[in-house]
């Protein structure tokens, strides 16, 4: 590793971590969470991003070559399609196969867990996933023990190691050749989202809250330790970078306030606290609007999260959480797609003026940056923040 790149890496990392610790670095750190935009910018089709592991990495490399940020956005695909093909996974549709080559992935929402599965899930969720869920969601694994099912396990496991390994090697390369840290290490979920996303789906979980609330609570309790372990294991024990927590069903107004207090928050809080006890900070990626819950979120231990603002009232977030938690966000994705560079620039300046003065602030878009963002607007975000965001 050249000492110049290592120096740049340490500078960026220090700037980022200082803000995460609610301190004031030399400049406002820029961390963009980017998915499909990288493909467009690098000139790849979305199919290439989902299918070709090398182009997937190259797309992110192109971004850090051209934009001066503080973290590498990481490879744009969330899922490597060949892994899904190998097992016949049904719940995602990808560009180039089920969809045209530049269409964003689609999730096929179904009740992959049935109401009658709760007891088996609660008793031994790991075994239930193997025995009951995978045969339902992997066409090639429909008949466990058959030749094809055995091949699906071999290929699925191998593909996961390959994908994880390629991304780990890329992170090393971004550090050594470009001086960039990644923005996150590992991920976990809110227990309610684990249950409510892939397993019971929105309609199913909403029915369960009325019809079988005790089962839901028991399942959520079981999930706490699993979700803590998942965050730890996927981060490889990294305690420097935050652990990504994409939040779904907890946004207002999916649940009413009583439901949120009863079903969403208690187990999520335990997961975040459990990780924090092990030194792992959560990137509380609050998609949608979380304004009504800010006081509850403020109960968390100081610095245990970085609170990411999408459509949450950033003024209230700053008043209630600021000083104790780093805040990130919230340049609207609609502005990045349909606005003008001057408007983006003005928005960033307002964010810096109003929320970054005391440190503990990271510049980012409101949500993950996808195919529709304009290049000139991303450039405006980055350049304005670099010029104007100096302490």
């Amino acid at each position: 590793m050249s000492s110049q790149m290592e120096k740049a890496y340490q500078e960026r990392l220090n700037r980022y971590v200082t803000a995460l610790n609610v301190g004031k670095p030399d400049k406002v750190p820029i961390r963009l969470q980017i998915s499909e935009f990288s493909a467009k910018y690098a000139g790849f089709t979305l199919q290439e991003i989902y299918y070709d592991a090398e182009k997937n990495i190259a797309a992110a490399t192109k971004l850090i070559q051209d934009f001066d940020m503080d973290t590498c956005p990481g490879a744009p695909n969330l899922w490597w399609a060949p892994l899904h093909d190998a097992v016949g996974a049904k719940y995602l549709k990808f560009a180039g196969r089920d969809l045209e080559e530049n269409r964003q992935f689609q999730y096929v929402e179904e009740e992959y867990m049935k109401p009658e599965d709760y007891d088996a899930f609660i008793a031994d969720p790991t075994k239930w996933i193997m025995d009951c869920l995978l045969p339902r969601i992997h066409e090639e694994f429909a008949e466990p023990g058959s030749f094809r099912a055995n091949m699906a396990l071999v290929k699925g496991a191998a593909a996961m190691v390959m994908d994880t390994g390629a991304k780990a090697q890329a992170a090393q390369m971004w550090r050594e050749q470009y001086g960039y840290p990644t923005s996150i290490a590992g991920m976990h979920k809110a227990p309610f989202d684990t249950l409510g996303d892939v397993l019971r789906a929105l309609r199913g979980i909403m029915i369960d809250l009325r019809k079988r609330p005790d089962k839901v609570l028991a399942a959520l309790d079981v999930l706490v330790d699993h979700n803590i372990f998942y965050g730890m294991a996927t981060s490889g024990g990294n305690t420097t970078l935050p652990n990504f927590l994409p939040l779904h069903r907890g946004a207002y107004p999916f649940l009413n306030e009583k439901q949120w207090d009863t079903f969403y928050w208690p187990t999520l809080k335990k997961v975040i606290e459990g990780l924090w006890e092990k030194g792992i900070r959560t990137m509380f990626y609050a998609e949608g609007n979380w304004t009504p819950y800010l006081e509850k979120i403020a109960e968390l231990p100081d610095k245990s999260i970085v609170f990411h603002v999408d459509q949450t009232d950033i003024d209230k977030a700053h008043k209630i959480l600021g000083g104790r938690f780093c805040i990130s966000g919230n340049v609207p994705n609609t502005l990045l797609s349909y606005g003008k560079p001057e408007e983006v620039s003005d928005y960033c300046k307002r964010l810096i003026d109003n929320y970054a003065a005391d440190g503990g602030f990271i510049m980012d878009a409101a949500g993950v940056i996808q195919y529709d963002a304009k290049v000139e607007n991303i450039r405006a975000l980055v350049e304005t923040t670099r010029e104007y965001g100096v302490y």
């Binding site: 089709t45 199919q47 290439e48 299918y51 070709d52 399609a81 060949p82 892994l83 093909d85 190998a86 016949g88 560009a95 180039g96 196969r97 089920d98 969809l99 045209e100 080559e101 066409e139 090639e140 429909a142 008949e143 058959s146 030749f147 094809r148 091949m151 071999v154 290929k155 191998a158 593909a159």
Partner: protein, 57 residues
């Protein structure tokens, strides 16, 4: 019945579940077919090597 029975499949060296057995389930393919095929075949070749590795020591 998704099982491939002996004799039904021409399982050439390097294949466990040949592409032509699987492509029907993927139709209609909307984009670049060769890319999907190439990646299928790479993982399928790995599965083949996994099995034969226990024999070719």
């Amino acid at each position: 019945m998704t099982e491939i029975n002996k004799g039904e499949v021409n399982r050439l060296p390097g294949t466990t579940v040949p592409w032509n057995e699987i492509v029907e389930k993927m139709e209609p393919i909307q984009g670049n077919r060769d890319m999907i095929k190439a990646e299928w075949e790479k993982l399928d070749a790995f599965a083949y090597i996994y099995l034969w590795w226990w024999v070719q020591r």
